[in-house]
């Protein structure tokens, strides 16, 4: 797939990108500033047409939804509730179901109820992010494209998002493609990682696979998740750990195993 932007000078924002995502899979998308992540998500969501190549979606019915990088640019409704209700209403659901979804989604992202009736423009940045995420969740997508979803979110906001996404993923088999500059957030959701640089897909791998590419990542202005960086550093220093862990649970288990072992040794001595 290729996508070029018009303008005074043409910019090739995407260059020959090809990949497949299985139903229910969660995939991270990383890449430096300006590498084409948002463009790729917009193409996948059908908001812009690729100048060549194609996007196909097969199988189970249900919407493909994109939560954009700058949520305040997408708002138009008079109140937060109406903003979140807009998507589900267009799915021809009955009003009771729409109302239930709006309540569920706004609760899931942890927006204070007193803010549900104000204009989305009269919210703080983090509150606006929560509204935009709620609007996407309320669509009950089968495939959710998230563009920098943690930007602006405080600690509890990020925790609520991780918890909600994990829950929906387990219950409904939601597919996820998440672009973010926060590798710790991504590591808590996915196994697979796509690396985009200058519009080209330079790696289609897993977090464990990326642990062997530390210097290459750094050259791209990127980083491993904190836990994997820690395991890599320990391993490089000769500690008995395996750094190539695929999920955050496995990484924690490996770190805990190592740490308990050390404590034991200390006790035996």
């Amino acid at each position: 797939m290729v996508y070029s932007r018009d303008g005074e000078a043409k910019i090739q924002a995407l260059n020959g990108v090809s990949f497949r995502v299985r139903s229910g899979e969660a995939v991270a998308l990383i890449g430096p500033v300006g590498s084409g992540k948002s463009t790729l998500l917009r193409v996948l969501a059908g908001l812009v047409k690729p100048t060549s190549g194609r996007v196909t979606v097969e199988g189970r019915k249900g919407p493909v939804v994109l939560a954009i990088q700058e949520p305040q640019r997408g708002f138009f409704a008079a109140t937060v509730r109406e903003e979140v209700a807009f998507g589900p209403e267009n799915l021809d659901l009955d009003p009771a179901e729409v109302a239930a979804r709006v309540t569920w989604a706004l609760t899931a992202v942890g927006l204070k109820e007193e803010r549900w009736t104000v204009s989305p423009f009269q919210l703080s940045g983090g509150e606006q992010r929560r509204v935009a995420l709620a609007a996407s969740l309320a669509m009950k997508p089968r495939f959710l494209l998230l563009d920098e979803p943690t930007i602006g979110l405080d600690g509890p906001g990020q925790a609520a998002l991780v918890e909600t996404l994990r829950k929906i993923k387990a219950e409904t088999g939601l597919g996820l493609l998440v672009a973010s500059h926060d590798p710790d957030f991504l590591f808590s959701l996915t196994r697979r990682v796509l690396v985009l640089n200058d519009g080209k897909l330079t790696a289609d791998t897993t977090w464990g696979g990326l642990t062997h590419q530390g210097p290459a990542l750094e050259a791209l202005s990127l980083e491993l998740p904190f836990l994997l960086s820690l395991l890599c550093r320990l391993q490089a220093a000769g500690a008995p750990v395996e750094a190539a862990q695929e999920t955050i649970e496995e990484a924690w288990a490996e770190l805990s195993r190592f740490y308990l072992g050390r404590k034991q040794e200390g006790g035996d001595r």
Binding site: E8, P32, Q69, Q122, G125, H181
Partner: protein, 269 residues
């Protein structure tokens, strides 16, 4: 001589809104200080930032910059020369049609020779990596490029007080490090900075931290103070450094650990 920067019982209520934006904040800043303002989503950080530079006028209390009050329209010009705000949403900051014009805009409003203007604008373009994009519209940049432009805008003006509202949001890990260093260097040239965020990691080198909750200042002290009260800090919506969180989770005495190097040396001596 009047103190450099003073907030005297500053409050702000948004028109037609029942929630308080900011409530009775007091502050006195010496030149060359780095202050961090931390707090949850909706706690009043951005409102306070807009009050500090005169974009909003307090509904009660006074904001004084070298004796000039933001309440007096004829003194605002003096305030704008001394205080610059990097907005949380870059789009709201941009006024010009191209990246280059955008950086030049503020500089041209100072009485400088054309040669100095040219040199300053070029330095801004190069420092922030925007040279290749200098002829495009600010609004057609990627999210991270917009963030870099919004920083360049204010950086070239060298204001005595620079206010940065979540300056690292939307940047890739490498750019986060570069911008952190660039902002830290301001101190050596005697400029002051107020950094608004919910991440303690960004505030660790601050001279002082204010924590906001519900529009009020609820805690003030050195950043290390927050490490010793992790539970409370999390309840205020503050995210702790990943190394600190990992150390807590392993059951280490976590308060001394704030980065990867420290954690590695604790785990593997």
């Amino acid at each position: 001589m009047a103190p450099f920067f003073v907030l005297d019982q500053v409050s702000y209520c948004y028109p037609g809104s029942s929630t308080t934006g900011v409530c009775q904040v007091n502050l006195e800043l010496e030149p060359g200080t780095f202050l961090a303002v931390l707090g949850a989503n909706g706690s009043g950080k951005s409102t306070l930032a807009r009050l500090c530079c005169g974009l909003l006028k307090p509904t009660a209390g006074r904001v004084l910059v070298e004796g000039y009050s933001t309440a007096n329209d004829d003194e605002l010009k003096e305030i704008y020369r001394r205080v610059g705000l990097v907005f949380q949403h870059p789009d709201n900051q941009f006024v010009a049609g191209t990246v280059e014009r955008e950086i030049a805009f503020g500089v041209e409003n100072r009485t400088l020779s054309p040669a100095v203007i040219r040199r300053t604008v070029d330095e801004g373009l190069v420092r922030f990596g925007l040279e290749p994009r200098k002829n495009v519209s600010p609004h057609s940049l990627s999210g991270g490029e917009k963030r870099l432009l919004s920083l360049a805008d204010i950086w070239v003006l060298k204001p005595k007080l620079i206010l940065v509202d979540e300056p690292l949001a939307m940047l890739d890990p490498g750019a986060k490090k570069r911008i952190t260093r660039l902002l830290a260097d301001l101190r050596y040239s005697g400029q002051s900075m107020i950094w608004f965020t919910h991440g303690l990691l960004e505030a660790l080198t601050a001279d002082r931290v204010l924590v906001m909750a519900g529009g009020r200042v609820v805690w003030s002290g050195p950043p290390a103070g927050l490490l010793t009260m992790a539970e409370q800090a999390r309840a205020w919506g503050i995210t702790l450094p990943p190394a600190t969180e990992a150390a807590y989770r392993l059951g280490l005495k976590a308060t001394a650990v704030t980065n990867l190097d420290e954690l590695v040396s604790v785990l593997w001596r």
